[in-house]
Amino acid sequence: MAKSVRVYSTPTCPWCIRVKQFLKDSNIVFEDYDVGTDQVRAEEMIKKTGQMGVPVIDIEGEIIVGFDKEKIKSSLGL
């Protein structure tokens, strides 16, 4: 069973684009929340991480701030 993956991002942030590209290239299905327009998800992201930097990746409750390729890989078992 694939893990549920959520990405909190903004459309303009270069690292967000790279995270999403990386997930796509790895055939990982994920939900993408634009925290620039979705206030509820923005609040949720800030609550989860205690900070406002994007991207934030939530892999079944494991929170990764920033495009940390190694952490994402190990969390997803890639």
Partner: protein, 304 residues
């Protein structure tokens, strides 16, 4: 210990291009870097890199990375260099993870955002204070924000934020804004923008997140309530790990037309150097030039 022909420090446009040339010259080399792409990875739209009429920073970075990896290059990622030392003909590179040796080095470690150096700055980084308006700007829609700085990158951040924030303060420590006149005028004409010249930031305040900034103008301190602070006060070279290499007043590594520093065998390329003009295409060209000159340098010497 193994002695490489070449160690490249940094994998931005300069370091990556150098690595492509080193691979094609079949040098025995290693790339040590904190990240891939450097400042190019942070760039928005790029319309002046020949061959691409339009490409984004992340896309160009991906192309660069693919090109580098095509040669199965040995790459140490997320590894910070602590010190470079030359003894005899051998150059030692000490990092957070280990020690390496080479006959030649290219320093291509680029630049990073300059910090304000005031209290609260470190504490509230990513908690309302950011160095990347492009990344984090959209989170501040309907909020009150300040941009610190008066150059083009500050004006650019200001213009991005005017579209989304309720109110934008521009806090600039010189008598007037620098940067392009067109951008300046747009900000000056906006009702939602207040520009404070000759003003210093003295502290960043908040509890969990930023909630105010302390500034000083005309000799008096003021506190402005706000939720976001965007620091855009320029860049500084990532060259603190090179002690014996000559640098200019901005801290940039001095090089000659062949990318040589004052120490034989230590070369530098791209934004970390005093090369006139900082552009992705110039950094890439400098990386190539540095590598070709190292190839000649290594061939001209006999190492014991």
């Amino acid at each position: 210990m193994k002695i490489y022909d070449l160690i490249i420090i940094g994998a931005g446009p300069a370091g990556i291009t150098a690595s492509v040339y080193a691979a094609r010259k079949q040098m025995d080399f290693l790339v040590i870097t904190q990240d891939i792409g450097g400042q190019a990875a942070w760039s928005g739209d790029i319309e002046n890199y020949t061959g691409y009429q339009f490409i984004t920073g992340p896309q160009l970075t991906q192309k660069f990375e693919e090109h580098m990896r095509k040669y199965n290059t040995s790459l140490k990622e997320k590894e910070e260099v602590l010190e470079i030392k030359k003894s005899g003909e051998i150059i030692s590179v000490k990092t957070v993870k280990g020690d390496y040796q080479a006959r030649a080095v290219i320093i291509a470690s680029g630049k990073r955002s300059r910090e304000l150096g005031v209290s609260g700055e470190k504490e509230f980084k990513n908690k309302g204070l950011t160095y990347c308006a492009t990344c984090d700007g959209p989170l501040f829609s309907g909020k009150v924000v300040a941009v610190i700085g008066g150059g083009n990158s500050a004006l650019d951040a200001g213009l991005q934020l005017v579209k989304i924030a309720e109110k934008v303060y521009i806090i600039n420590n010189t008598p007037k804004l620098n940067g392009d006149a067109i951008m300046r005028k747009k900000l000056e004409d906006s009702k939602r923008v207040s520009i404070f010249n000759d003003t210093k930031v003295t502290a960043v305040l908040g509890d969990k997140f930023v909630n105010a900034i302390k500034i000083k103008r005309d000799g008096t301190e003021e506190i402005i309530s706000l939720q976001g602070i965007f620091v855009e006060i320029g860049l500084i070279p990532n060259a603190d790990f090179v002690k014996d290499v000559e640098r200019n007043i901005q801290g940039e590594i001095k090089i000659n037309a062949h990318n040589q520093t004052n120490l034989a065998g230590i070369f530098a390329a791209g934004d970390v150097t005093d090369v006139p003009e900082k552009q992705i295409i110039i950094a890439a060209g400098e990386g190539s030039k540095a590598c070709l000159n190292i190839f000649k340098y290594l061939n001209s010497k006999t190492f014991s």
